[in-house]
């Protein structure tokens, strides 16, 4: 490194290479990601978020929800499970046999062997595939997140800190708009020691009109007598977005619970 030019060329080459690798190549490869289909079906995946939910994504961004919430389910591996579906002619023997076998958390070979043992005794089985890992055991999803889950989102907000639970599938976990709104208005009304901040500023407290929109709040959080709490449009959009968070369809690259050959 004797000359300024030498330093410049070295730096240029180093940064250029990583730019080509991590900016250009992914733009070409991932940027061409297309809609796929749900495994063993012709349903398209993902579907575009409905209008209100797409607006809600921007509310999520503006309020920095991703500072505390991730939207990426992690998976350690997969495991097979053999489920008894028919006991055949000799139910007692078959079910005793099945009770004596290890039927969950199996490898493919072990699952096939168990299925064969039961089949030999006349029973019928189905073999299921499922993801394993802490996130899946916590009920945050059935499979790991994949790139196509985020296809229609801009900005994507995968998050990097779990100060709150993962929200990849919150739309399936808590599919009730009123629940979502109450939680946003007063997290402590739902989880006593919640460290989630209240987003009461997305709501309006106004003189009661008996509107259907008014939140049904538990005692201690309700508006004073004669008043009601109604969501602003931003809050409604945000709740619609949360309800649209459901990235759990089995895909070719992330399969689960499929009927495998016995």
């Amino acid at each position: 490194m004797k000359t300024g030019i030498g330093v410049f060329v070295a730096a240029f080459a180093a940064l250029g290479a990583s730019w080509a690798g991590f900016v250009l190549a992914p733009s070409l490869q991932l940027g061409g990601t297309k809609v796929t289909t749900v495994l063993n079906s012709t349903d398209e995946y993902p579907v575009q978020r409905p209008g209100e939910a797409a607006l809600g994504l921007q509310v999520y961004r503006a309020n920095g929800c991703a500072a505390c919430h991730t939207q990426q389910v992690q998976q350690d591996g997969t495991a097979f499970e053999v489920v008894l579906t028919g006991a055949g002619k000799d139910p007692v023997t078959v079910s005793n046999l099945a009770a004596g076998l290890k039927l969950t958390g199996l490898t493919k070979e072990a699952a096939d062997a168990a299925a064969k043992t039961i089949a030999d005794a006349g029973g019928k089985t189905e073999t299921h595939l499922s993801g394993t890992g802490a996130d899946i055991s916590r009920g945050w999803g059935s499979r790991h997140s994949v790139a196509v889950d985020f296809l229609y989102d801009a900005p994507v907000q995968p998050g990097s800190l779990r100060a709150g639970p993962d929200l990849t599938n919150i739309g399936a976990r808590a599919a009730d708009a009123n629940w979502q709104l109450v939680h946003l208005y007063a997290p402590k009304a739902i989880v006593k020691d919640s460290t989630m901040p209240s987003f009461a500023y997305l709501f309006e407290v106004r003189a009661a009109t008996g509107s259907a929109e008014a939140l049904k709040l538990p005692a201690g959080f309700a508006a004073p007598a004669g008043f009601e709490v109604v969501p602003t449009p931003a809050a409604r959009h945000l709740a619609a977005y949360l309800l649209s968070l459901h990235a759990d369809a089995p895909l070719y690259e992330a399969p689960y619970s499929q009927l495998a050959k016995p």
């Binding site: 490194m1 004797k2 000359t3 300024g4 330093v7 410049f8 070295a10 730096a11 240029f12 180093a14 940064l15 290479a17 990583s18 730019w19 690798g21 991590f22 900016v23 992914p26 733009s27 991932l30 990601t33 961004r61 503006a62 309020n63 920095g64 929800c65 991703a66 500072a67 505390c68 990426q72 992690q74 802490a134 055991s137 790991h144 997140s145 994949v146 790139a147 889950d149 985020f150 296809l151 989102d153 801009a154 900005p155 994507v156 995968p158 998050g159 990097s160 800190l161 779990r162 100060a163 639970p165 997290p187 989880v191 020691d193 919640s194 460290t195 901040p197 209240s198 987003f199 500023y201």
Partner: protein
């Protein structure tokens, strides 16, 4: 590289210092304010975990806005412009030249500060882009980019017209840094705030690429470059093992720029795999830089109770620790464990505040009185700042790292309810808030020193102007 300032053909150092007086006071003054602002915003964000509804009614003060605003105020408000000031000074000194185009950095400093103001305000009112470390809305990004280019041009011109031909290790690092930021920042912003944003996870990949190149590579290049200038200079002996420095420089650039895609990210598997390999290959440069620093600093007979040398040594130690903590998250097992925990927050703060900010502060305290031609108004407070900052960083960052590992272990065990994993982190967060308070106190001392100094300088300037013009001119035309 030590005694070049005395070599004959070069301009004398007081001339160089004087040429930088206005640009540096502008850059450092704004930066010092942003440091206070950023740390206070960070403290407010941290307090939310002890009292979630503190200031809850005010949308500007919601956690999801405060946290990125705090990070960006420290990084874009303090770290980058203050480092640019120090770099300008180093470039002039190494070139033996007064800074070229001194008006340019003054203009740039003002543009930069407006940009940061627009950016922070944008985040607080909900106009963040939503991409971590790139939250500033487009208008702010354009201002920052323009201001950076202006300063880089001024530094490059100073170098181009140099009277001192030799190239030092500090040069390599600082040059590369001057190239790195405009490229990564403009590229990431062009892709992510363009009209047709790339689809899906490409956005996240670009953001990770940018964040790594800023927080690991750029901070590394600029911070180590600054340290490699001041260590020998203050220590009074040349930089040890410059072969190691060259090795560290090249490998940091070539491998370090490929780190950053988290293990297990929902993207094609080759991306995190490449990052894992790059992270392992980036360990040697970090060690090489640590060896150079250690060998240069250890023999130096400098009594540094709280002086600039102290800042530098602590900074370099944090560089080593912070970088290692970062790179080992490339190991799949460990990476998975700490991935979504406070660990990475602590690690980032260790690198940003413990390494970079400390090195830059060392530089600022070293050159402040030289360039302004005035004594530091409160030298004792500068030393107090050193101790407050060191203790503050330790209390702020280290508990987050430890707490993050604990949180990770609990999150990995599905038998532990989520709320319990969360509660485990709260205790550590409490300690880290204490650290933040110490950091704020320290940054106030810096701001005090700079502002009193600026005022004194303005008064002195006014007096001399006044003396020069009173005789022949009517007083009404005197402007300070």
């Amino acid at each position: 590289m030590n005694p070049i300032d005395n070599k004959s053909p070069a301009a004398c150092s007081s001339e160089i210092d004087a040429s930088l007086r206005v640009p540096l006071l502008a850059l450092f003054g704004g930066a010092a304010l942003w440091l206070v602002v950023g740390l206070v915003l960070g403290l407010l964000a941290g307090l939310k975990f002890h009292a979630p509804d503190l200031l809850g009614a005010c949308p500007l003060m919601t956690y999801g806005r405060l946290a990125p605003a705090a990070n960006d105020a420290v990084l874009y408000g303090f770290a980058i412009p203050a480092a640019l000031g120090v770099i300008l000074w180093i470039m002039s000194r190494l070139s033996g030249m007064p800074v070229a185009l001194p008006i340019v950095p003054v203009v740039a400093a003002n543009i930069w500060n407006v940009g940061v103001l627009v950016g922070i305000a944008g985040i607080l009112i909900g106009e963040s882009t939503g991409y971590p470390w790139l939250e500033f809305p487009r208008a702010a990004a354009v201002l920052l980019f323009a201001a950076f280019l202006l300063i880089a041009v001024s530094a490059a011109a100073t170098f181009g017209w140099r009277r001192q031909r030799e190239l030092f290790p500090a040069h390599w690092f600082l040059f590369a840094a001057l190239l790195w930021f405009p490229w990564t920042y403009s590229s990431a912003n062009l892709f992510l705030t363009a009209v047709h944003v790339p689809r899906g996870m490409v956005q996240a990949v670009i953001d990770w690429w940018f964040a790594n190149n800023l927080l690991f590579v750029w901070l590394g290049l600029a911070g180590v470059g600054i340290a490699f200038y001041f260590l020998p200079k203050i220590g009074g002996r040349p930089l040890a093992s410059s072969g190691y420095a060259l090795f560290g420089f090249l490998t940091l650039m070539f491998f370090g720029s490929w780190v950053g895609i988290p293990v297990g990210a929902p993207v094609p598997a080759w991306l995190p795999t490449v990052s894992t390999v790059a992270a392992m290959l980036s360990i040697p440069p970090v060690i090489a830089i640590a060896i150079v620093s250690l060998r240069t600093a250890c023999g130096a007979k400098v009594v540094c109770f709280g002086g600039p040398f102290c800042f530098l040594r602590f900074g370099l130690l944090s560089f080593f620790l912070g970088s290692m903590l970062y790179l080992i998250t490339g190991c799949p097992r460990f990476g998975h464990l700490v991935q979504f925990t406070w660990y990475s927050v602590g690690q980032t703060q260790l690198t940003l505040l413990g390494f970079f900010v400390m090195v830059v502060l060392g530089g600022i305290y070293e050159i402040l009185s030289k360039t302004s031609g005035l004594e530091l108004p409160f030298p004792k407070l500068a030393k107090a700042h050193c101790y407050l900052a060191m203790l503050g960083v330790l209390l702020y960052a280290v508990p987050l790292v430890i707490g993050g590992v604990e949180q990770g272990i609990r999150l990995q065990n599905p038998a532990v309810p989520f709320a319990d994993a969360n509660a485990a982190a709260l205790l550590w967060l409490r300690i880290s808030s204490t650290g933040q308070i110490l950091l704020i106190l320290g940054s106030l001392l810096l701001a005090l020193n700079i502002f009193v100094m600026t005022i004194k300088w303005k008064i002195a300037l006014g007096k001399s102007l006044f003396a020069a013009v009173t005789a022949p001119l009517p007083v009404t035309e005197v402007k300070a």
